[in-house]
Symmetry: C2
Subunit: 448 residues, 2 copies
Amino acid sequence: MATRSSIMDTNSYRGDEDSLIDKKTLELIKRREKFMSGSYRLFYRKPINLVRGEGEYLYDDAGVKYLDMYNNVASIGHCHPAVVEAVTKQMQLLNTHTRYLHETIVDYSEKILAKMPSEVDKVMFMCTGSEANDLALRVAQEYTGGKGIIVSQEAYHGTSALTSGCSPALGTEQPILPYVRLLKTPDFYRVGGTDEKFIAWYCGELQKNIDDLKEKGYGFACFLADSIFSSDGVHPNPKGFVKAAVDVVHKNGGVFIADEVQPGFVRTGDAFWGFARHGIVPDLVTMGKPMGNGIPVSGLAARHEVLEAFSDKLPYFNTFGGNPVAMAAAQAVLKVIEEEKLQEHTKAVGANLLAALKEVQKKHSDVVGDVRGAGLFIGFELVSDIEKKTPDQKKALDLIELLRDNQVLTSVCGPHGNVLKIRPTLAFADKDIDWVCSALDKCLTILG
Amino acid sequence: MATRSSIMDTNSYRGDEDSLIDKKTLELIKRREKFMSGSYRLFYRKPINLVRGEGEYLYDDAGVKYLDMYNNVASIGHCHPAVVEAVTKQMQLLNTHTRYLHETIVDYSEKILAKMPSEVDKVMFMCTGSEANDLALRVAQEYTGGKGIIVSQEAYHGTSALTSGCSPALGTEQPILPYVRLLKTPDFYRVGGTDEKFIAWYCGELQKNIDDLKEKGYGFACFLADSIFSSDGVHPNPKGFVKAAVDVVHKNGGVFIADEVQPGFVRTGDAFWGFARHGIVPDLVTMGKPMGNGIPVSGLAARHEVLEAFSDKLPYFNTFGGNPVAMAAAQAVLKVIEEEKLQEHTKAVGANLLAALKEVQKKHSDVVGDVRGAGLFIGFELVSDIEKKTPDQKKALDLIELLRDNQVLTSVCGPHGNVLKIRPTLAFADKDIDWVCSALDKCLTILG
C-alpha cells in the first residue's frame, strides 16, 4: 500500500517576501489574516489581488493581465455572458428549492443523464464536490454493506469529515480513516514497462488493498477515483487503464465512484466525462467544479439499483442544491459546451498545447522529465536527475512563482509537488499557446 | 435521554391525490420521478409548480399568488433587487476563489464579525449549513479532545455523513452516530412549571447526557443547537434558558456550537443572532440559509483559540466557499438588513403576527394548544385534547394542505409533526397578517 508524502499547499504565501509586495496588497493580506481563519492559504509568495476575469484571462488590481492556466471552475471562460445572463434572469424570477416543482431541474436532469451511459439513470444535486463525494461514499456503503474505501495515494475528494478522511492530499496532519486504503499513484512515467504490464501492476496493487480491507473486517465498498488523477500529478495514460481497475472492483463486489469534479465536462477532450475516455461504465458519478462555471452546484448521478439502497430508506434535502438559479447556471454551461463545440475545441487545442509543451521539454530536456495530458489537462514534470527521474519540487515551486511574475498562472501537484498542473479554462485558444510556452521557456532558462 | 419519534417528510406528495392534479403538473411530477432520485420529496399531496417570487409572495404556473409563510432562505424577500444587482455585477467582473486575494471577502468578514460578541473573532466560509456544521463539529472535537456530541431530540444539522449522523429529524432509518446523544426537546408548553424549574430540568437532562458520554469513554466535545429549536417544534421560551445550558457545557469542558442557520440574520427580532437573544457567547457559530438570500453561502465564526486547534494543523479550502459572487450576495443581504431596518421590522411585525395568531387560537381553543415564537419564527401547535396536550399530527397535516389550497404556504415540525412552522420571509408585513389569520380561521373551521 502507498505511503504518504503530501505536498498540498506548498504553493502558498508565507510572509517571507513581504518586502517585494506593494503596501496596498500587504494591507489587504494583513486584514485578511486578522479576520479569516488560519486554515486559509493564499497562492504565491507574492499573492495576487484579482479584480476582473474575461475568457481565459485574469486581471489584478494594477491592471496586469494574466493568462489563467490553472482554473477549471470558470471552465467555459471567466464571466461567460451566457451564464451571467441565465443566472440574472432566474434570480429575477424565482429561487426556491427542490420541495417545490420546477421545470429547469427536471430538464437539466434529463440532459445531464443523456450524457451518461444508459445504466446511469438517476441524479441528485448538491452544492459542492465534497457534498457529492460524501453522499456517494454513503450510497456505496449502503449498497455493498461494506465500509472499506480505496482512493489514490495523493487523492483529494473533499472537505467534509468523511471526504477529508479520504483525502491524503490534505497533508500528513489529516488523519485518514481506518477503513480507507491508499492505492499507489498510477505513475506510468516511473513504473514504465508495456501498457499490459503497467495495468497488471496497477490491478495487482488494487487487489492487495481490497484484500487488506476484507481481512481487517471492513469489507469493501468502493474505489473512488478521479480518472485524470489530478492531485496525484495528472496521469491520463495508457488510455483505458482505469477500466481494468474497475473490472477488479466489480469482481470484488465493490462499486466504482467516478469523481468527475476534475475530468468532467469535456476537460479531457476525448469524451464528455473522464470515465468515458477510459471506456468505463461507473456505478456512481460525482460532479462539481466546472458544472456551473462558478455558481455553487454539484451532482451525483447513479445507477438506480445502487442509489436505491440509500434512497429507499432515506430522504435527502439539500437546501441550495439544485435550486432554480444553480440549475440555470448549469443549464447555460451545458448549452455553451454544445454550441461552442467545446469538446472538439478542447481536444484540438489541447493536442496543440501538448505538442508545444513537448517542444519546451526538448529545449529543457535536463529538467523537464515528462509532459503528459488529455485535452486541456496537462502535467509538466520537473526533475533534478533525468535518468533517475528525481522529483524537483524546489524548481517547480520557483518556476510557478516566476511564471506568475511573467503573467502566467498555474500551480503544482503530485505526491512530490514537482508537477505543474496545466489546466486552463476551455476558453484557452491556439493564440495563447505561444504566451504560455514562451514564458515557460524564459523562466526555465532563468532558473537554469 | 430522549427517544426518537421522527416525523420528517410527513408533508409530502404520495401520489394518492393524483386525480386532483392537473395534467401538466402530473407530467412534470412523473418526469421528475423518472430522472431524479427517490430520496427527493415534494411538499404537499398536490405539489406546487412555482415559477415566480416577489417579496413575501410566490406564484405558481397558473398565476395563483401564495403568501409564503415558510421560506427563510429568500429571507429579505424573494428576488430582492439588491441581491440580484450585486450578484449580476460581480458575475460580470470576476468569480474565483479564496486562494487569490479579494477585497469583498475581507470586508464581509469584518462586517459579519462586528455582529458577533468580541470573543468570536475569526471566520471561514463554505457553501451550505451542512458544511459549516460538519466543520464546526470537527473543530470542537479537535479543541476538546473529546468525541461526544449532544444535539436536540429532533435536531436537523445537515446532510453530510457526520451531520446526518447528528440529525434525528431525518427519520428513524437514519442511524445516529454512537457518540451522539439526544437531549430532550425544551418543550416549555408541556414541561411547564416556573422558568427556574424548567431551566433546572433542562440543565439536568443535559448533564445526564454529558455524564453518559464520559462514562462510555467518548468524552464530551460539544452541544450543537439551534437556539430556536426549529425542527423540535419552535421553542423560544423562556428567553435565556439556553444560556444556562451553555454554562453547563462550559463547566464540563465542552464547547457550544450555535447553529444560526435557522435563527440567525435577525429572524427572531430581538437580536441579530438567536444566541444573542439568549445572552450567550458561543464558541462556534454556524450560519447558512438566509445568508445569501438563495445564493449558496455559509459560514463558521469562532473564538480564535478554539478554531486554532484545527487551523494550526490543517488547511481548509472550499472551492466555491466565499467566492466573490457568494460574498457579493452576502454583503447585499447584510446591507439590506441594515438599510431596511429588518431587525426592528421583524420584532414589530412578529409581535403583531403572534398576537393575531393568539386571537385565532382563542377562536379555536379546542384544537390550538399553543402559539409561541420570537420575531418571525412562530410555532402553532395542534392538539386533539387540550387538557392532555395530545399532539394532533393528522389535523396539522390536513391544515397545511388546506392552507395551501387557500394560498398560504407553510409546513409542520416538532417530534410529533403537529406544529405549524410559521416562518415567512422578512418581507412579511402587517398588511399580510389578515391573509394568513383569515385563512387559518377558515381552514380550522372547515376541519372542525
